[in-house]
Point group: C2
């Protein structure tokens, strides 16, 4: 071993001990006849002292050290006169007696500091240096803890982790599969799994009872900021359970993670909200309930007053921002610009200021009397000093815009503290989504999702109203995971396929394999999957999942550090029976 202690370990109690440390040179400072070196490793920073008077040669050696050199020192632990309260080793320093340079370093292309001078691209190219920074490493440590505690909890609950294959067959799921040409079976391809869905259901047929896996999944999609071609899921499935059992068990898991990873005790039951309420009160199936500011529908209140915008709108919705009546013209213009941005798409914004004197001032004073406005304020439970913001238009689009406005107001008012966690189960999702264009129903979750028992009769009469036994766990407006109880009876499954417009032949072609397996005694089962990347991002207070992935890819799906993907030999293409024929663009 190159060391007796790590750089985060020594305290006052070690004073007088001879120790050996090894690590990286974080910083070299020269003061009079002394040289101070901050020595860094994963565990912390320890100050080394070299004294010109006591050892000139050694001091000269230390004078040659550059940033990120790797060194080993033998030294005595001494009390520091000038203590540093900010680091755990700040009460001691090391009086170095010998030093060995284990490796030199070229000057890194950016500083290894929390606030580095390196831009995104440079840091991605030299990711192995970026990972030296505390902030980035802490995210990886957090990820390790989340994964480890997830496994510990699920193991305690009797779950078995089963590895399912990565080289599988192409499946008819939503997104595009990555494929892998087979050399031994030329002209044929494996596919990389978008999820272990098929295999986890098979494991239930196999009687595994409780399965989980922290599994790599793959999707060949055009990437957005928060997508990666490979991502990690905590994938779970259970047999002989109903929705209530699944919710309880995974609520327990999340509480376990908060307790053991974040040191937060969540004693209350997670609130539950139907999908219908989530859409009605928050305009989103993943509401951020760290703050209230629920939507109030005021279409009836505002109609018939000759304000054409409201009269012609399918939907008029309001939110009430506490203590914002003092918003200036400029601030209100900013909000108007915000909702008019193309990605939000509202035509305009109506406001009502609830003044301190009990009067109202609004952008639609022409059409509404003080009395009219008072009624709206009452409906919105607005108090003196509050600001009411109103959007109007087509229902779905307006709710979505109002959702964005609500989140913006939450941020402006400091109601979205990253250290506050507000979990929520969203339940009772619709089983089907009607598609106007193709004039047919699509499965909102997937075609194996079980309808709510109470709604089975509606399958024949009003399929659009059937609720699914599908559920999402949402925290702070982030959908962390979701799942459903699956259909295990073939009669019900047949009906589902009919409603989804599959002919028996199409159903057979796409899902025949699983259907066959289900013929041999499939138990009732259900499960869910969490996005590990998103979960860690949430815990770490990050804006992008990329920052909690050790070696992420960029928006073109490239790993710029190792330069992947790249060209391969013609010989290898020959072996695979393939030829490249680029599409002309």
């Amino acid at each position: 071993m190159y060391r007796t202690h790590t750089c985060g370990e020594l305290r006052l109690s070690h004073i007088g001990q001879q120790v050996t440390l090894a690590g990286w040179v974080q910083r070299v400072r020269r003061m009079g006849g002394m040289i101070f070196v901050d020595l860094r490793d994963r565990f912390g920073i320890t100050q080394l002292v070299f004294n010109q008077e006591t050892n000139a040669d050694l001091c000269a050696q230390a004078n040659e050290l550059g940033r990120e050199f790797v060194i080993q020192v033998q030294a005595e632990v001494a009390e520091r006169s000038n203590k540093n309260k900010h680091i755990p080793t700040g009460e001691i320093e090391l009086l170095v007696s010998t030093m060995r340079v284990l490796n030199t370093s070229e000057t890194p292309p950016f500083t290894i500091e929390d606030n580095t001078d390196g831009g995104d691209d440079l840091r991605m190219k030299y990711r192995y240096l970026d990972l030296r920074r505390n902030t980035v490493r802490e995210n990886m440590i957090l990820r390790h803890k989340v994964a480890f505690e997830t496994r510990r909890y699920l193991d305690q609950m009797g779950f078995l982790e089963v590895e399912t294959p990565i080289l599988i067959a192409s499946t008819p799921e939503g997104a595009r599969d990555f494929v892998v040409p087979s050399r031994m079976n030329q002209g044929q391809f494996y596919a990389l799994p978008q999820s272990p869905q098929l295999f986890k259901q098979l494991l239930m047929v196999s009687g595994f009872d409780k399965y989980f896996q922290i599994a790599k999944c793959f999707r060949d999609e055009d990437l957005r900021a928060d997508r990666q071609p490979e991502f990690t899921q905590i994938d779970c499935e259970m047999s002989f359970v109903k929705q209530e059992d699944v919710l309880n068990l995974f609520e327990g898991m999340m509480k376990h993670l908060f307790r053991f990873v974040k040191n937060i005790d969540m004693t209350d039951a997670f609130p539950r909200m139907t999908w219908a309420d989530a859409m009605k009160y928050y305009g989103s199936d993943k509401p951020d309930i760290r703050f209230d500011m629920q939507f109030v529908e005021i279409k009836e209140l505002v109609s018939g007053k000759n304000f054409v915008v409201f009269d012609e709108a399918d939907y008029v919705g309001a939110i009430c921002a506490s203590n914002c009546a003092t918003y200036t013209r400029k601030q209100l213009d900013e909000l108007t610009d915000f909702v008019k941005r193309p990605q939000i798409g509202a035509k305009g914004l109506v406001y009502i200021r609830c003044e301190a004197d009990g009067t109202f001032k609004s952008s639609v004073d022409k059409f509404y009397t003080n009395d009219d406005l008072a009624k709206i304020a009452t409906a919105c439970k607005a108090e003196k000093g509050d600001l009411i913001l109103i959007l109007a238009g087509a229902t779905e689009k307006t709710q979505k815009a109002l959702c964005e406005l609500r989140l913006e107001m939450g941020s402006r008012l400091g109601l979205r503290d990253k250290n506050v966690f507000a979990p929520l189960w969203v339940i009772d999702f619709p089983l089907f989504q009607w598609d106007e264009e193709t004039q047919r129903f699509y499965a909102m979750h997937h075609p194996f999702t079980c309808p709510n028992e109470d709604d089975i009769a509606l399958l024949d009469t009003n399929p659009g109203k059937v609720r699914a036994t599908a559920y999402d766990m949402v925290i702070n407006g982030v959908e962390l995971g979701g799942g459903s109880i699956r259909i295990h009876e073939s009669a019900l499954q047949k009906k589902m396929f009919e409603l989804l417009g599959f002919t028996p032949e199409q159903a057979e072609a796409q899902f025949g394999f699983l259907m066959s397996a289900f013929k041999y005694g499939a138990p009732p089962h259900g499960g869910l999957a969490f996005g590990l990347d998103r979960l860690v991002s949430l815990f770490a207070g990050l804006d992008s999942i990329r920052d909690c992935i050790a070696f992420p890819k960029n928006n073109s799906g490239r790993d710029v550090m190792i330069d992947a993907p790249s060209v391969i030999d013609n010989a290898q293409l020959d072996e695979l029976g393939l030829r490249i024929e680029l599409k002309k663009s």
Copy 2:
């Protein structure tokens, strides 16, 4: 929840309780007016009783049950008059009051029993049913435990599990890479990792200090019985360590696994053997030391007696099989046939029987006196009643054949009990292997393996004699894992490349990326990787790794259950910029 208890849970203490169970019908027996059903789930089997006299309707229902039906029953726990000592629930039975068929089952293509009537192919096609059998499921539970305890140990030791990417760039390692065409970067390919070697060394450069990962790895090789295109490694790397540190830590890991998975306390230090001794005494770099029977070189003893076979041989080696002097002519012929099999390739076998009366009888009596034979017996430490077996020929080939003969004798003598575990570190591997054909050295482990400090001078004078700081963990003749201390200094690395015959340009092209990373302060580091599949197989006493993989592929790399690989759409090929052009054969 569909049940109050599992099928493995109820005991005498539950007698009189009303319970609900759910599971699969394992067996239905009819006796007089009674029907007995064995109800099975992952946790065990519970006997259900239906009584014609007390409930004729229910009994009629039970009479309709087929094998593998999924049912739910409500029942009272009762003491069994005819107790079954073989199962934990054997003292009770359930007097059923209501029953619900949750799902029917077609008759499975083979019986769900420990000794099934299904052949290999059928069981692979219906793997989801094969996984219902106790023996197969137990392997998966064992695998879960091994993986979980591995993580628990390494977490305790300060290791961080870091996920490294699956979509990487092709590397110049030994075997062929699987590749993944990129749609967003047409004409370019990702490769699937053969191991996370590159990334784990980068993580050391990043200062992660102790890394591990239970990682999927991929090799596109022609498959043998014990190879799979995707396999799982316990991959580990540490910084600021020497060989001794790595051996101690992972010896600790193996002891932890034996303790917590197999309930075996291994208190002694694992023996260590140099590669040279392993070859000399066992003819193998992975000796099975559950039994002794070491090789004795007797070339000098047997030369010059006009026995041409021995005189012309480079090597004459003997093993002594205790108490086998009574072997019959037929048994000796079997052994001769065994060593003459093409895969072993010996020309013949010489034996010496050490008779009870102190005389010797051998197949070479013509050439050797009783005195000559006595000397050989003394060299072999043979006692009265022992049998000496001798092979002669070219050194390497003969040692290999003698190794096989030794293992065969060990098996015949019952010295290779699967419940006995004999761990061993093989150390001091040669750094280089000389290749006669190309007249150059190859790296035995990989080109980053650090030479033994004491042998650095030999690099210039006698490279073939340089020992590497490389090590393998071997248990019962199975190589479970191996690794090395890596070179972290660029001067030494350059010398290695020279000795391996790389020009600076070739070294740059193949390893430039890692070399660049090493310029920024690489710490001394080393590690190793264990094959999880092999480890689980060893713990389970299996002959093939396939039996401890939930969904394995066959020898053609096919998953016959899901029928992968398979053809894909032309549209998808177009998107990838690829055309299939099968090689004519």
